[in-house]
Symmetry: C2
Subunit: 339 residues, 2 copies
DNA sequence: CTGTTAGCGCGTTCAA
DNA sequence: TTGAACGCGCTAACAG
């Protein structure tokens, strides 16, 4: 197995210096057309492609953005909403000539992963960064954008919607339709903190309830991972034990699971039991069978996050927090409660 | 903005050589416990983390596998089957302490992307690598695994099922149920080649048809991208123009779209029109409402591919082609044709 | 066994 | 157009 062809080999064979070869590939205007031609011809002949890692190393750039995966690649990637966010990020990366690196916990450790990540910036979605991880990021001077994360933070910039208000709107719509036997399926609090997305939305639910003078105790609240299956299972458990007139979920994926379980039991979504989702994954081409939901553009979140990250990487002034819009999307799964 | 802390700084401050510092992080057994402690303490104090890029550069490894995205990040990532493959890859990466890099066409060029990809190996799914790309890969000595790609190839190893046989089985099941007015929705041929996945499966369909002595002309064949939306639209067009008793698709995503369109028209899947899928995405937690399908494990494909890649990276002997099993999965969407 | 020296990997880029 | 320094950590060879 012969050694790789290096810039040196080309320089020698072509009769120029390493610098000239480098220019031939990066800035032909700095050398003569003749040199340029000769060098490229030699490169083609010997089969030479500048080693991207060496290149990145000397330029001090990785040409990749990282997406930090909290735990299981499994769950996160299963959610169509996450996918649309990734798609948004991917678009921006592509424009900038960047790659997108998925970073799973390295040997089960997020901090190890962050220590070793060869990326110019990092994004995270919906989970609270531990102090340890943040300190590593600070030492590495790595720009971070937290999607759906804590809003006000010195180091970590964020992109999100106003989750409290959005959740309040969501529940208001349900209450306005007369529902009182409501089952809320929240996202798991990844921390017990109220700064988490689930915490903020719960607060919004509280606001809606008190606006309608409804005691929080009358509402069934459980939580489920943002997957279809988890939605099915949770709905199953709830329906075994009680009979809500409406399910309110914090994610469309869960809502779809709930709907599927409702149908499995021979009931009709909408007429028998109402369902309210959150995310608006129909936008990403996913069939949602008329799911009523709070729509927020995952793609836009991804785009804005990546753009934010690139601003930081380029040393430009960047807003510490971006709030994107949301809206109630009327569907056919939320109906007036039966008398 | 002060400079990053380097191994040099730690060496000086701790009173040891650079080598000692390096050992402290990589192979503590080569130095005394005392030195180890002092060095790590100093590192913590000054805020030092070995630069992963420099590390990778000197070790000659990227610690990342690449997943080449043919065109739009959009479509590929939208398909639950692709996701399950990625999940499989992710698992293996995690075990090996590797990252997974998604590689979109760089500035719209796949070859540019491949030239610049900082990964130790590459995977591709369901599309034929151009000669140009292959030559780049050869020059870069980059191991490649093609998932669902060409089977027999010198450089490119592959992981797939026996698509021809699987497709034959799929159509046989449909024919056995008495269907004759059949609409096949194939995948687009990404090349006009019969070596493509769509080509191989079409061949299988041909075999099934001739086994039943049915003229191929009596079958409606169209093609659609592997997305829900595309499935809906294509089904819509077909139903506007004709009335098949059964849809046969090359992907569950399309099948789900078809089912959704059938329902939208007030018809019942199974009783009015049968639907047959391909992939078995239910395994990945996706609600498929009893879709009859040819199941192949995406996760296993991902796992085997990544493992294959790691063998090649480690210079071990690796099989040039891996065939994984598939099976017909009976559901409720394929029924006996009405008399 | 502990620790050091020195050179390497491969392009990039500045001063000449 | 080029020589030489540089980026940063790894590691073979060697000395105490």
């Amino acid at each position: 197995m012969s050694k790789r062809t290096t810039i040196q080999d080309i320089a020698e064979k072509a009769g120029y210096s390493k610098a000239a070869v480098s220019f031939a590939f990066n800035d032909p205007s700095k050398i003569s057309k003749e040199a340029h031609d000769r060098i490229l011809a030699t490169a083609r002949e010997l089969g030479y492609i500048p080693d991207p890692m060496a290149r990145n190393f000397s330029r001090g750039r990785h040409m990749a953005l990282g997406f930090l995966l909290p735990q299981m690649l499994q769950e996160s990637l299963q959610n169509p909403y996450t996918q649309s966010v990734i798609r948004g990020i991917g678009e921006v990366c592509q424009e900038h000539g960047y790659m997108l690196t998925l970073i799973p916990p390295l040997h089960s450790s997020v901090s190890e992963a962050v220590k070793n990540a060869t990326v110019d910036g990092l994004m995270t979605m919906g989970f609270v960064l531990s102090g340890k991880v943040r300190s590593i990021l600070r030492i590495r001077r790595m720009p971070v954008v937290s999607i759906d994360g804590e809003a006000d933070d010195d180091d970590v910039h964020s992109v999100s919607i106003d989750d409290e208000k959005a959740a309040e709107l969501q529940l208001r719509k349900v209450l306005e339709k007369g529902h009182r036997r409501i089952a809320i399926i929240a996202l798991p609090d990844d921390a017990y903190e109220s700064s988490s997305i689930a915490g903020r939305r719960r607060k919004g639910y509280g606001n809606a309830l008190s606006a309608f003078s409804i005691p929080p105790e009358s509402i069934i609240v459980s939580s489920a991972k943002a997957t279809f299956r988890s939605g099915m299972e949770t709905a199953g458990r709830i329906l075994d034990a009680s009979s809500p007139t409406c399910f309110v979920t914090m994610s469309d994926a869960v809502a779809i699971g709930v709907m599927s379980e409702i149908r499995r039991r021979g009931l009709t979504v909408g007429d028998d039991i109402s369902v309210m989702g959150f995310d608006g994954i129909e936008d990403s081409g996913f069939p949602c069978y008329g799911l009523s939901t709070i729509a927020q553009s995952g793609e836009e979140k991804g785009i804005r996050s990546a753009e934010l990250l690139f601003m930081m990487i380029d040393g430009k002034e960047a807003p510490s927090s971006i709030i994107i819009p949301y809206e109630y999307r009327e569907g056919t799964t939320l109906k007036e409660v039966k008398a």
